[in-house]
């Protein structure tokens, strides 16, 4: 019979599709491997291999036994724990209000929740100094209002400053994650508990809270990860050896004491910790998705307008305080950038002097502000290229992961997310080690910065595309196929247009990340390549806050554009 022959040549659309996506994503995988595994591999080899070329774990063991390193580790974990706790505690009441009430200004809080993902950490540092510093806006206001002789708030360069800055930076993440999950908890469980005689507080304690815990863990692990690998905030606001964290120590050894091997060994410790945290985070997300599967969200809780005066007052209070807390420092930066002292007096007046210096209309001799304009161009070019590459990598990988059946392809997904599990300081160190092996030129430095930024941005791009890709029903592809489209045609005429909002969001994230990236850049760059955050760092270091504010305002403007794009896409897609 010719049936056997048939089997051999059967057109198998699933096999064809799988082959198409596999082929298409191959360059992305290869690129990611090169960009990520090589730097990390170099770090590992430096950590384990002695000058004689022997493999040895001795360096690592001595390091772990070193009381100084142990103190650094202890402090790193301590500050991350406290920061996480404070962030979650600030977020919880807000999450309650957002999930249960409908009030004016709710969308403002919602919008604030996306800010930390696009806000460069150097702006956090600067905003913090401007807002809470001894000459900062709060102190000036208090001194003027109550005629004090001393600034009342003195928290700069202390443990409190680090915690407060981390909370300001991270509580919106917890707020966003917890409230969006809380909103989706069906009300009927609460109602069932109440019918059975539970009071409001008991309902919260016995029904709501246990179901919120995965969301809280998810937010907490993410925030812990961010605070654990936080770098510039500690470098500037910590300001002393007693506030040294693992990342700061890696930077110090790599770029100040030139103990590369020590830095590499410490990086290994850092990678170990962060991978553990990412694993925890992924596990909690899996818990969340399990719950969602069970829910089959049929009726969401509808926000009601607050009825009791207590609810009204607390929602207004929370709104006002969170806006001041988050937006205050940013507004402060913009405000200060237009202020300059009148000659020989403390009086400040409105002035464009910093911007004139920035764009070279006034000369700023000896100040880093003089090269700010060219740094701006460099930053934009680097960010644009990094965005394009990471969009390419993210889209192709997402396409491949989506083409797999549910449950498969987890290893590729994990692999693509791996750069997230390695702190940007460590990635920067890896590229610094590469740069020390090749000949120095501005072009090489710029390329390495672009590549490092691509590695950092790619997982974020993938994360914004993949969930949207998975939402596209398979029947769309099947329908296009029956209508005569080939597999590549379904990709270009169905998948890509439907992904446009996700691509815009992913691209915007990548651009903002690269524009504000300082950790990897600071470790990696020599003096030949300067980006906007680097100049800001130098300006802060030389106490030229006003100049930093002018540059910061421009960075805020860039982020605001990105932020507006994301918001617009989010709104238009929720309307559709």
């Amino acid at each position: 019979m010719n049936q056997k022959a048939h089997t051999a040549h059967m057109p198998d659309i699933q096999r064809d599709t799988a082959r198409f996506y596999r082929t298409m994503s191959a360059p992305a995988l290869v690129l990611l491997t090169f960009l990520f595994l090589i730097p990390v591999g170099i770090i590992l080899s430096k950590a384990f291999i002695t000058e004689g070329g022997q493999f040895s774990t001795e360096r690592l063991i001595t390091l772990i036994r070193d009381p100084y390193i142990l103190r650094v580790l202890r402090f790193t974990v301590l500050q991350a724990s406290v920061s996480t706790l404070v962030s979650v505690l600030i977020a919880l009441p807000g999450a309650y209000l957002l999930a249960n009430f409908q009030f004016r200004g709710k969308s403002i809080i919602r919008a604030i929740c996306t800010i930390p993902f696009v806000l460069p950490s150097i702006l956090v540092v600067l905003g913090f100094v401007i807002f809470y510093g001894n000459q900062g806006i709060i102190n000036t206001a208090f001194v003027k209002l109550f005629h004090l002789s001393e600034p009342p708030v003195k928290i700069l360069y202390s443990f409190k400053a680090v915690i407060l800055a981390h909370a300001f930076y991270n509580f919106p993440i917890a707020l966003g994650l917890i409230s969006s999950f809380w909103e989706q908890l069906p009300v009927r469980y609460d109602q069932a508990a109440m019918v059975m005689g539970a009071r409001k507080w008991t309902v919260f304690r016995t029904v709501t809270l246990p179901r919120l815990i995965p969301a809280i863990i998810s937010a907490a692990t993410l925030i812990f990860l961010f605070c654990f690998s936080s770098f510039v905030i500690l470098l500037v606001l910590g300001g002393g050896p007693q506030f040294t964290t693992l990342e700061v120590e890696i930077y110090r050894r790599a770029r100040m004491t030139l103990d590369i091997e020590g830095a590499a060994a410490l990086s290994l410790l850092s990678i170990g910790f962060t991978i553990l945290l990412v694993a925890l985070h992924l596990w909690s997300q899996r818990l969340l998705s399990h719950q969602e599967e069970i829910e089959q969200i049929d009726e969401r809780r509808r926000g009601r307008t607050p009825t009791s005066p207590l609810a009204t007052i607390s929602s207004i209070l929370y709104l006002v305080l969170s806006v001041i807390f988050v937006l205050g420092p940013l507004v402060g930066i913009v405000y200060r950038s237009f202020q300059a002292p009148v000659s020989r007096s403390q009086e400040m007046v409105f002035s464009f002097v910093w911007y004139r210096q920035l764009f070279g209309f006034d000369r700023a001799i000896g100040s880093p502000l003089g090269i700010a304009a060219s740094a701006l161009v460099t930053s934009i070019v680097i960010a644009a290229i990094a965005t394009v590459i990471s969009l390419f990598v993210g889209t192709l990988l997402a396409a491949r992961l989506r083409s797999k059946e549910a449950g498969k392809g987890a290893s590729i997904e994990l692999y693509a997310m791996l750069p997230m599990a390695v702190s940007s300081v460590v990635i920067g160190l890896g590229y610094y080690l590469i740069s020390s092996t090749v000949s120095h030129s501005t072009m090489v430095s710029r390329t390495l910065i672009v590549l490092a930024h691509t590695v950092i941005a790619s997982p974020f791009v993938l994360r914004s595309i993949l969930p949207e890709y998975r939402k596209i029903p398979r029947s769309y592809t099947q329908a296009a196929l029956t209508l005569g489209a080939t597999v590549p045609q379904t990709f270009s005429s169905i998948d890509l247009p439907l992904l446009r909002p996700a691509l815009a969001t992913g691209g915007a994230f990548a651009f903002a990340l690269s524009m504000g990236e300082i950790n990897a850049t600071l470790i990696l760059s020599d003096s030949s390549v300067v980006t906007v955050p680097i100049i800001m760092y130098r300006l802060i270091g030389s106490y030229n806050y006003a100049g930093a504010c002018a540059l910061g305002t421009i960075l805020i403007l860039c982020c605001a554009i990105v932020f507006a794009t994301i918001e617009r896409v989010r709104r238009s897609s929720s309307h559709a």
Partner: protein, 354 residues
């Protein structure tokens, strides 16, 4: 003479749950319904025909052309998906013209074809609408128009009405029938609704566990189901052991005795539909039936549901349940039921599938 259009011969596909085997020939211009419970392989059958799935063995020919080895995009078979799968990023017009654009047909011709198709489905002037602005019924019709755009030789509909409410379903049923008559396109219609299958089709294919149970006209399927499974799936009915015949048979001398009675049939079963049962609620009056029939005396009425126009009675008789339609509500708890011998269907050695 009928000209065959679609022929699936010796198709076999193995799945972990079941093995699908198909052998059917559909005539040109015919509307064939495929009916069965979920997971019986009806949708799989459609996907095999479109080429979205591959069969392990066998051949599929369409209008004499072997399409078994053709990729999906070359087969030119129109398909309406259960969720319609209208592309949300395209307007109604661009959705319908999708296949035309792939075939590089001119813009003006595309526009004209879209206009014709919208007219056919009764949605004139919908060209610029967005998909999310359409109601469920409108989406269904646009999906139909899109499937017909490239003038396919075969139209497949995968439970196209399942997402709609009952009233809309009845309305669109008529319209699909109308469009089928207007275009004369060979159509396969997958459904799990027996009423839909019976009212719309020229022939019905009943499937279970990947196996064709019966492939026949709606009348035959309903009145003479080939298997007990088909009988129960296509509507209500009563199953009784064959052995009750001797004690209930009323043979009238005047009538021709058509009963072929086999005494050895312990495992044999009989089946009849509730509308074939005559209900009589006054035992003192004479039973009006004059042809050979089974008579169940002193059946007790267990439940009586009013269904609008008739009552569905569930009666208990000697530990058996008998379903019967009645025009009136019985005045007594005890009724007499009668079924003509001609209305019985006999099954041999078959386990009751429930």
């Amino acid at each position: 003479m009928h000209e065959t259009s679609l022929v699936c011969s010796h198709i076999r596909v193995s799945y972990p749950e079941f093995t699908l085997s198909l052998d059917l020939a559909v005539n040109k211009g015919e509307l064939v319904s495929i009916i069965g419970p979920s997971g019986c392989g009806k949708s799989t059958t459609l996907q095999l025909i479109t080429g979205l799935l591959t069969c392990d063995s066998g051949t599929i020919t369409l209008n004499g052309r072997d399409i078994t080895q053709q990729p999906v995009w070359e087969r030119n078979i129109g398909m309406v998906f259960q969720d319609y799968a209208l592309f949300p990023h395209l307007t109604v017009e661009k959705n319908i013209a999708y296949s035309l654009k792939l075939k590089k047909i001119g813009k003006t011709e595309q526009a004209q074809r879209v206009r014709q198709l919208l007219e056919l489905v009764g949605l004139q002037g919908f060209q610029r609408r967005k998909i999310h602005e359409l109601s469920g019924g409108e989406r269904q019709r646009i999906a139909l128009a899109r499937a017909l755009a490239s003038e396919p030789q075969l139209l497949l509909l995968d439970e196209p009405l399942s997402a709609l409410d009952a009233k809309m379903r009845r309305h669109l049923r008529k319209q699909i029938k109308h469009i089928h008559e207007a275009t004369g396109i060979t159509t396969l219609y997958v459904t799990h609704d027996q009423e839909e299958a019976l009212t719309m089709s020229d022939r019905v294919l009943v499937m279970q566990q990947g196996v064709m149970e019966q492939f026949d006209t709606p009348e035959e399927i309903y009145n003479h189901p080939a298997t007990l499974y088909a009988a129960q799936f296509m509507g209500e009915g009563t199953i009784l052991p064959h052995a009750i015949i001797p004690q209930t048979l009323v043979s009238i001398d005047k009538g021709p005795d058509t009963v072929v009675f086999r005494s050895s049939g312990e495992t044999r079963q009989i089946f009849f539909r509730p509308e074939r049962v005559i209900v009589h609620d006054n035992p003192s009056l004479a039973f009006p039936e004059f042809l050979p029939h089974l008579r169940f005396t002193e059946a007790s009425v267990l439940s009586c549901e009013y269904q609008g126009g008739r009552y569905l009675l569930t009666c208990g008789w000697h530990h058996h349940h008998i379903l019967a339609y009645s025009r009136f509500k019985p005045k007594h708890d005890q009724v007499t039921l009668g079924v003509r011998i001609n209305d019985l269907v006999e099954y041999v050695d078959e386990a009751v599938a429930r």
